[in-house]
């Protein structure tokens, strides 16, 4: 690990002031950042410890939604009675990720910024455009079984590894931030992540030094909520394919649908065409197949991850049966 200077922020304003140069990073739970620092994939020269800032509360809002502090641990968010009652898809997604120890440490804000587990991103002996733009991509033509089939570019096929952000995309979350100049902004999660394009190192629209302070969930959507995750082991593994679904059926027809996907895309994936294929239709395998066609129309396999395309089709159809069945 490269050495760094360390400052502990006591207020949110102080935290954004302390991020005074490129190379400085916030640390909260640290479970992903320290892992990457040990391998020198991340080499910050300064850490600003935000773990004791007063951003650890979950509050109900007047519109029926929730405001979640960026430092709420994954374990606490998953077990919160309001989340369980109103947003079970979020609780399920959190519980499907990591281990008990990691969920106790990992935070809401940090989870949104989790980095890919692409083998070549982790291996500093191999070229990787996400670590070093322009170096080349070892995953295209390499071992890419766990990597993305949607939203990739010729420069990067890394998968976003998260579960929580997938549920948050299905729930239309908003990310609230504070910039060094004191400006607050609210960013829809649908605008938060960037496709890799020719700059796979830039994963979100956050500016340098911008701090996530809260995540807002709008009032809970109507309908049934399901999170289904398919992975290589029954527990403590990243998704090969996951689906966060919220579907309402009324008078025998799908009245509304929100579907987001993990394990498939370069970012937590949501595609309005999938939902458009469903809304207004009576639940049927034909309608579900049309939704899968819409999801996978532009999917591109890279050899060893080709299996994800038919797997995604089957997982989506199974999830839709569960969401619309008796």
């Amino acid at each position: 690990m490269k050495t760094f200077t360390y400052e502990k922020a006591t207020t949110v304003d102080e935290a954004v002031r302390d991020i005074d140069r490129a190379g400085a990073k916030f640390i909260a739970g640290g479970t992903n950042l320290l892992d990457l620092m040990k391998l020198q994939v991340e080499t910050p020269d300064k850490l600003v410890d935000i773990s004791r800032l007063p951003l650890g509360e979950i509050e109900e809002r007047e519109d029926g939604g929730l405001t979640i502090g960026a430092l709420v641990p994954n374990a606490d968010l998953a077990a919160d009675p309001r989340v369980i009652a109103k947003y079970p898809v979020l609780s399920r997604a959190l519980l499907a990720g990591a281990s008990g120890q990691l969920r106790n440490k990992a935070t809401t804000g940090g989870n949104l910024l989790q980095r890919t587990r692409c083998y070549y991103f982790y291996d500093t002996a191999m070229p990787c455009n996400k670590r070093e733009p322009g170096a080349g991509c070892s995953a295209i033509g390499g071992f890419n079984r766990i990597l993305a089939v949607l939203g990739t570019s010729e420069n990067c096929i890394a998968t976003h590894p998260g579960d929580m952000p997938v549920a948050m995309r299905a729930l239309d979350a908003t990310i609230v931030t504070l910039k060094a100049d004191g400006d607050k902004r609210r960013i829809s999660i649908h605008d938060f992540y960037r496709l890799p394009g020719d700059r796979p190192d830039l994963e979100t629209v956050l500016e340098p030094g911008e701090l996530i302070t809260h995540v807002e969930l709008p009032a809970p959507p109507e309908g049934r909520q399901v999170y289904r995750k398919v992975r290589d082991r029954a527990s403590y593994a990243f998704a090969l394919v996951s689906v966060a679904g919220v579907v309402k059926v009324a008078d025998g027809k799908i009245a509304s649908a929100a579907l987001a996907f993990g394990g498939l895309g370069s970012m937590p994936w949501r595609d309005g065409a999938v939902e458009a294929a469903l809304v207004g239709q009576a639940p049927s395998d034909a309608a579900f197949a049309a939704a899968a066609d819409a999801l996978l129309a532009d999917a591109k396999g890279y050899g060893s991850n080709d299996f994800k395309i038919p797997l995604a089709r089957r997982v989506l159809i199974a999830t839709l049966r569960e969401l619309t069945g008796e």
């Binding site: 050495t3 479970t31 077990a79 369980i84 120890q101 440490k105 527990s235």
Partner: protein, 181 residues
């Protein structure tokens, strides 16, 4: 830097990069917590920070100067074992023993989570989880045992859970189907 570990105060002048695990093992002589993978994958370093189980390898010592830390050395002593330690001995919940301190700290933290009503991935009802062997396996998936002593580890944890007298950790009995039924 000052630390409170197992109820004792310590002072140590360590490199800023030192993990909580390395602080204990390399600087304070608390070698009970083990280093397996050093990346949060195996759980051998599990300790309790303010009562919550965490991976000691994935956090910086400097960040925990105001916390109450408990390692395996603080749970019990050879003369007076913690109930979880005694249960692991009774059920032979190990072979080589390397993962055992982490397994025991993790199990203690895990049962507290169950008593708080926290659900898991395998809970049918998120707001009222039951407790059975499947729940133990899921909730302990962050602790690997390469000797594969898992059946005896589950036996030890199940016994401590049942003996605690807490309704939330009372194991759900699943009667085996009657022969020929």
């Amino acid at each position: 830097m000052r630390f409170t570990i197992n109820g004792q105060s310590y002072q140590a002048d360590v490199d800023i990069r030192t993990s909580l695990l390395d602080l204990c093992r390399e600087h304070l002589g608390l070698t009970g917590s083990k280093k397996g993978c050093d990346h949060g994958q195996c759980g051998a370093c599990t300790m309790l920070v303010n009562g919550r189980r965490v991976n000691g390898c994935l956090t910086l010592a400097v960040m925990h100067q105001d916390d109450e830390i408990v390692t395996i050395e603080g749970l019990g002593s050879p003369e007076s074992l913690h109930p979880m330690q005694a249960a692991f001995v009774r059920h032979d919940g190990y072979q080589c023993g390397y993962c055992t301190p982490g397994q025991i700290c993790s199990a203690v933290g895990m049962l507290d989570e169950v008593k708080k009503g926290w659900p898991s991935h395998v809970s049918d009802d998120l707001s009222d989880p039951t407790f059975d062997d499947g729940e133990i396996s899921e909730r302990m998936s962050g602790n690997l045992c390469r000797c594969s002593a898992y059946p005896n580890i589950v036996d030890a944890i199940r016994e401590v859970a049942a003996a605690s007298g807490d309704a939330k950790t009372a194991p759900t009995s699943r009667e085996p189907a009657e022969a020929g039924a």
